[in-house]
């Protein structure tokens, strides 16, 4: 694994986020956070060329420009104001990576409030579109600060709907529901277990399974053999470093 020593932790996170879009065709990728934004762009430039990217404002853009490209330098292919985003969300033609202040064992996500919702200890941004997103199209999460405060047994407010909650809400909630992956600064997680509870899918090289167990506030399903998060190919690494993020924003979000 000599090659891996040259790859930063943030770059493994970018690869893990890119993998979330593998196999997608012409769907709208929405990606919040630096590693997800880079991952969506990398997927589009490599193994998911039909992916449709937003400009972060009210348009769909051509290609996969570097993070921080001024709006005047983008080529727009379609108008996508907020009202039309709901047409996309509710039609299911979207694959999303949201952030999570808290995520739990069955995939519930919280960005609304910490503590009792009626009078919270900390008011966060609000549920935003998380309830609707999660019952309409594939959703994944990005948690750049994996700890027992972010990976909790039960979230304080269910914004993004996890597996158990979707099942208890009935077939209308499960019909289009899929939580793909959770990517953190330590590893990658999924729900590919019989009960759809969180499983360790891979560890980023340099991280141990013990560290992840220690930093997680509930019992993860841990397979006998946990693979490493895959290495970027030389082409992918060059795209990340030279084309998509020459300013190194990724290493400010996740330290190596």
């Amino acid at each position: 694994m000599n090659e891996s020593t040259d790859v930063s932790r943030a770059e493994f996170c970018v690869i893990a986020c890119a993998e979330i879009f593998r196999g997608d065709g012409e769907v709208m990728a929405s990606a919040f956070g630096t590693a997800p934004a880079l991952g969506a762009r990398l997927a589009k430039l490599t193994f998911t060329p039909d992916l449709v990217l937003t400009d972060g404002d009210a348009a769909l853009m051509v290609g996969a420009p570097a993070l921080g490209t001024p709006p005047s330098e983008l080529t727009i292919e379609s108008h996508m104001p907020y009202r039309k985003v709901f047409d996309v969300v509710w039609s299911g033609r979207r694959n999303l990576i949201m952030m999570a202040s808290q995520i739990d064992r069955t995939g519930n996500q919280n960005i609304s409030a910490i503590g009792d919702w009626a009078k919270p200890k900390a008011q966060l941004v609000g549920v935003r579109g998380a309830p609707g997103n999660t019952v309409n199209h594939p959703t994944s999460y990005w948690v750049p600060n994996h700890s027992t405060r972010s990976f909790v047994d039960q979230v304080d407010v269910v914004c993004g709907v996890g597996y158990a909650r979707a099942v208890s809400a009935g077939p209308s909630a499960t019909r289009f529901h899929q939580i793909r992956h959770v990517v953190s600064n330590l590893g990658v997680f999924d729900f590919e277990t019989p009960e759809h509870v969180m499983r360790l899918r891979s560890v980023h090289p340099g991280v141990t399974v013990e560290e992840i167990v220690e930093a997680t506030g509930f019992a993860l399903v841990i397979p006998d053999d946990v693979p490493d998060t895959r290495l970027p190919t030389p082409e992918e690494l060059a795209l990340i470093r030279d084309v998509l993020d020459p300013r190194g924003l990724r290493d400010r979000e996740v330290k190596s």
Binding site: P81, K119, V125, G132, V135, S172
Partner: protein, 291 residues
């Protein structure tokens, strides 16, 4: 064509304490801030504020104008949360109805269409339903039998939005890339007000932008108020972008009682002309940042 021009004071005169008021824009973008500032100076109180929330919500909470907020988020965009809204929630000073942002859209649409609710998958399984027992589900009357959320109409007593251009008859033109849900706020309201960067003649619209930008018809408006800089410090592209330095100063001041008093005295306890002059001469003599 009726002349619907009003002053900010006349707008406030149309509003009453206890009303449910919709505020257009999104986050810290194209908010009718001049109208919000006029509300801050008024005797209005006990308001229910319905907003894709930004500093409008925070400022009204800080001034004690708010009984309840109906929201999906409150954000300053470049700064994740509004400090005054955080305090209002964390001290239990206000009631809250928190819904998914798509549910919010459907609530305005239902009110605009005069139907009691619209069905959606959004909300199922989430705490939006669990925490708000007033929200109900409905079973499809067709063979699919799906159980969906019945998002109730968000009927508004009044709504105010901010646009780039408007004429005296109340037609509005939004020149930025996103009209957000502003026409629906107006459609959902009994009394409907448009503030504008610039009043123009109807003939001038065509030289300002293509027909799609003329998206607020006078069918939707009762009053129009010219308020240059009226969205400041939120973004009002292409006329101006968000005043990030000012927004940062707002957040910083909110974190300290003395600083907030100074901010309030300098910027908010003056009329709109006073505000527009004061923002060119920032509190504490800090450097005006070029934008």
């Amino acid at each position: 064509m009726a002349d619907k021009r009003l002053s900010l004071d006349e707008l406030i005169g149309e509003l009453r304490s206890g009303m449910t008021i919709g505020i257009g824009g999104w986050g810290s973008r194209r908010k009718p801030m001049a109208a919000v500032r006029a509300m801050l100076r008024s005797n209005l109180t006990d308001l229910t504020v319905v907003s894709y929330g930004g500093p409008d919500v925070g400022l009204l909470c800080a001034a004690g104008k708010v009984r309840k907020v109906i929201f999906a988020f409150v954000t300053l965009d470049s700064i994740p949360t509004d400090p005054h809204f955080r305090v209002a929630r964390q001290t239990g000073a206000i009631e809250a109805l928190e819904v998914d942002e798509g549910m919010f859209y459907l609530g305005l649409l239902a009110a605009s269409q005069r139907v009691p609710f619209l069905p959606t998958r959004a909300g199922l399984g989430s705490d939006v339903l669990a925490l708000n027992p007033s929200l109900r589900t409905i079973t499809s009357p067709y063979d699919d039998g799906e159980e969906l959320v019945a998002m109730p109409a968000l009927a508004l007593d009044a709504a105010v939005i901010h646009v780039n251009r408007a004429d005296a008859g109340g037609s509005g033109q939004i020149l930025g890339p996103d009209p957000f849900f502003d026409d629906l706020f107006l459609g959902a309201a009994e009394r409907r007000y448009v503030t504008t960067e610039r009043l123009v003649t109807t003939e001038q619209f065509a030289s300002e932008g293509p027909i799609q930008t003329m998206c607020i018809s006078r069918l939707l408006t009762d009053g129009v108020i010219q308020t240059p800089g009226g969205a400041h410090f939120t973004a009002c592209v292409p006329d101006y972008s968000r005043d990030e330095a000012f927004q940062k100063a707002y957040v910083t001041a909110a974190g300290d009682a003395d600083a907030w008093t100074a901010f309030r005295e300098h910027y908010l306890e003056v009329d709109e002309a006073g505000y527009q002059a004061a923002r060119m001469d920032p509190v504490g003599g800090q450097q005006e940042v070029a934008r």
